[in-house]
């Protein structure tokens, strides 16, 4: 966060317009691994008492101090004998995400000199309510605890929930804890922001699938950490890691994992698999590992450093000893150098920071659409910085496996990090429009996102509507609203009928005939997506309604760009008289059959009054 907020355009201090009094009244519920309350990011210097609307408590456990910044704490992790039952963060993750969303601005933060700058959240004046559901003692986060956290957070009157947790795959709503909790939050006007998952780049790996959840993918920023390795023949290869260990450029012998084992097959030894490396063969050397997965094994066996390979080396991670993670071509350069000399040597250098102002690129790990549960709802919705983010951490937790260091700020990568960025932006938007519903805030952020032209396969399934653009999101012009009854109709269309619908909605309603025919793609969503049979001509229609939140007496004209599709918008001119005036339109998309290799076609519908540009992706893809 010392660079990511500047990167997305939310400058520090007076350079970004703020609404301090409302921002200070905003409460962000963080469902995560707890928080390290003594961090400067969570000091309450200058904060008044909690907002009047606050109905929560501070049940952080013994010696856990809440304050006027961290105003609430509840613990849902099971009591484990001999371990203090506290909301104290034993994983570092909760402190990191909470400070990314709403941490104070803290000057001169760095990770041993790297990523130096002012760490801050999206809404530094907002309050934080902590709901601890994860702990190393339970190896993760229990879903029954998560549901309880939603039960309390909603009743405690938080404004927004950020949860960087997910399952291994998308689930049907009635078994998806986060979808259940988020539905009831939405009903109470609370937006839930959720990480998309880190199972990319494979398709259909997004784990946060409900339309009433704001799902966030991860991209990089204009700053990256690189770690060079200088080979004995003078060649330098550039790898990724956050290496703060300075070997002073000294060159050490290199040994390949494959040839440093006396008891494993060469593949396992090449991967530096646990138990495979022979201490006598690696001690005092740099070990080459075919994967970054087990590099600590080399350290256990006395290696000085490691050079590893990763096909997805597009984010730098912290290790407990000098490591450089190379892409395959660079790794092969090292291998060929090793084969060219009897006594290969190399040096692994300290990491350097490189800046290059460029468009954000989706992180390879970021989970992708299409939506495995609801094909016609595009997920992820939006992308935000998620790679190499420095933010508050818990000094009681080592910053990497078998690491002896203790840090107050650390560098993490994942959709866990991009999620609180969007939560911070949502709170920022809400501070200007406190009465906006969750869907209006989500729409504002999606339709004002930076468009991303990407070389990645099926970019729409990677980026969603694009990259978050906080300043524009405050003035979206038009929004797509979807309230509880819209979502009830959506559920009817998914044949949630009778008992289930009645119970979920809490109303004695059952689906009308019209609602039972409701198509998911007709949910008033800010993006438009349709899955069609392959190789057949298609013609799909989307019905949408926009609400005027820009200026009275304005006229919007429709424009379709990137039209590999034949798109008709009827009507294509909307005249909106007053604020909150609504107008409906229909988008009809037709095209020839989609076939392998061209399974996705997309366009963008942009409504503009010359000042606002309300952009929605239109994505049609073939069931393969």
């Amino acid at each position: 966060t010392t660079a990511s907020w500047d990167f997305v355009g939310l400058k520090r201090g007076k350079r970004a317009k703020r609404n301090p009094s409302i921002e200070s009244d905003t409460i962000i519920g963080v469902i995560d691994s707890g928080i390290y309350p003594l961090s400067d990011s969570f000091s309450d210097r200058g904060f008044g008492p909690p907002p009047k609307k606050w109905k929560g408590v501070c049940h952080g456990g013994k010696h856990f101090p809440c304050n006027n910044k961290v105003i609430g704490a509840r613990n849902y992790t099971p009591k484990i004998k001999g371990i203090p039952h506290s909301v104290m963060d034993n994983m570092g993750h909760g402190s990191h995400t909470a400070s990314t969303a709403a941490g104070n601005a803290v000057k001169d933060v760095s990770f041993y000199g790297l990523a130096n700058g002012t760490a801050r959240g999206g809404v530094p004046a907002a309050r934080i309510a902590v709901y601890k559901v994860c702990d190393p003692g339970i190896k993760g986060c229990t879903s029954d605890g998560i549901l309880s956290a939603f039960d309390d957070a909603i009743a405690d009157n938080v404004d927004l929930i950020t949860i960087s947790i997910g399952d291994e795959k998308g689930l049907r709503f009635e078994e998806d804890t986060i979808a259940i909790g988020a539905f009831h939050a939405m009903v109470k006007g609370i937006l839930t922001v959720n990480s998309a998952g880190n199972n990319g780049p494979e398709l259909s790996t997004v784990t946060s699938v409900a339309p009433w959840i704001f799902t966030v993918g991860a991209s990089d920023t204009n700053r990256a950490f690189v770690t060079k390795a200088v080979l004995g023949d003078g060649k330098t290869v550039v790898g990724r890691s956050v290496n703060t260990f300075d070997l002073k450029g000294t060159k050490y012998p290199i040994v390949y994992g494959k040839s440093a084992s006396s008891n494993c097959d060469s593949a396992s030894a090449g991967l530096c698999s646990p138990g495979c490396l022979d201490r006598k063969l690696v001690r005092g050397k740099i070990v080459l590992c075919d994967s970054a997965q087990n590099v600590e094994e080399a350290k256990y066996m006395g290696a000085i450093a490691s050079i590893a390979r990763s096909s997805l080396a597009d984010a730098a991670y912290v290790f407990s000893f000098p490591v450089s993670v190379l892409s395959a071509p660079a790794y092969n350069d090292v291998l060929s150098y090793m084969n060219s000399t009897k006594n290969p040597i190399a040096a692994v250098l300290k990491s350097e920071t490189i800046f290059n102002q460029k468009v954000p690129v989706i992180a390879s790990y970021s989970s992708r659409g299409p939506n495995p549960i609801i094909p016609d709802i595009l997920k992820p919705d939006i992308t935000a910085p998620g790679s190499e983010i420095i933010a508050a951490y818990s000094p009681t937790v080592p910053p990497s496996i078998s690491d002896t260091r203790h840090v107050k700020y650390s560098i993490l990568s994942g959709t866990s990090m991009s999620c609180p960025h969007v939560a911070g932006v949502a709170a920022y938007v809400k501070s200007f429009h406190p009465r906006w519903s969750p869907s209006m805030i989500q729409s504002a952020i999606m339709t004002t996102a930076w468009a991303v032209n990407a070389s990645t396969l099926m970019p729409e399934f990677a980026y969603g509507a694009g990259h978050v653009n906080p300043l524009a999101a405050v003035h979206p012009g038009l929004v797509y609203e979807a309230n509880k009854s819209d979502h009830i109709a959506f559920l009817c269309g998914l044949s949630y009928t009778g008992k289930n619908l009645r119970l979920i909605s809490g109303e004695s309603c059952s689906c009308t005939k019209a609602q039972s025919k409701f198509l998911p793609r007709d949910l008033n969503y800010p993006s438009m997506t349709a899955k069609v049979p392959a190789r057949k001509p298609f013609k799909v229609t989307f019905r949408r309604t926009v609400t005027n939140v820009g200026t009275s007496n304005t006229t919007y004209k429709a424009k379709v760009v990137g039209s590999k599709l034949d798109v008709k918008v009827i009507p294509n001119v909307l005249s909106l008289k007053s604020m909150h005036d609504k107008k409906s339109f229909k988008v009809t998309v037709s095209g020839k059959g989609l076939r392998a290799g061209k399974l996705v076609v997309s366009s963008q519908l942009i409504w503009s009054d010359g000042f606002h540009f309300v952009r929605s992706p239109i994505v049609v893809y073939a069931a393969n």
């Binding site: 229990t142 998560i146 549901l147 994942g414 119970l503 809490g506």
Partner: protein, 87 residues
């Protein structure tokens, strides 16, 4: 196949809280648990109640108890509590 008497934590989701002011979620959950387990004391079964913003509870149940609950009129779904991951 799981031994039928083996218990695990299930989430029993009951949807929105009934609007009736006299509705007492926790006693309702207790009576459901007593009915489905046949046990008068359910303390060792109950893990937690959901009672402030929506309706439901988590409890140690066997597979056959889960099936009985799934068919009950005021229950939306019964599914195993899992360990989710930080991302």
């Amino acid at each position: 196949a799981k031994n039928d008497q083996e218990k695990q934590v299930y989430i029993v989701y009951m949807g929105a809280l009934p609007a009736r002011v006299d509705y007492m979620p926790m006693s309702h959950h207790t009576s459901i648990l007593r009915e489905v387990t046949g046990e008068s004391s359910i303390e060792s079964r109950l893990v937690r109640n959901y009672k402030r913003s929506f309706n439901g509870f988590a409890a140690w149940l066997t597979e056959s108890e889960r099936q009985i609950l799934t068919n009950m009129e005021n229950i939306v779904s019964v599914f195993p509590s899992k360990t989710l991951k930080l991302q």
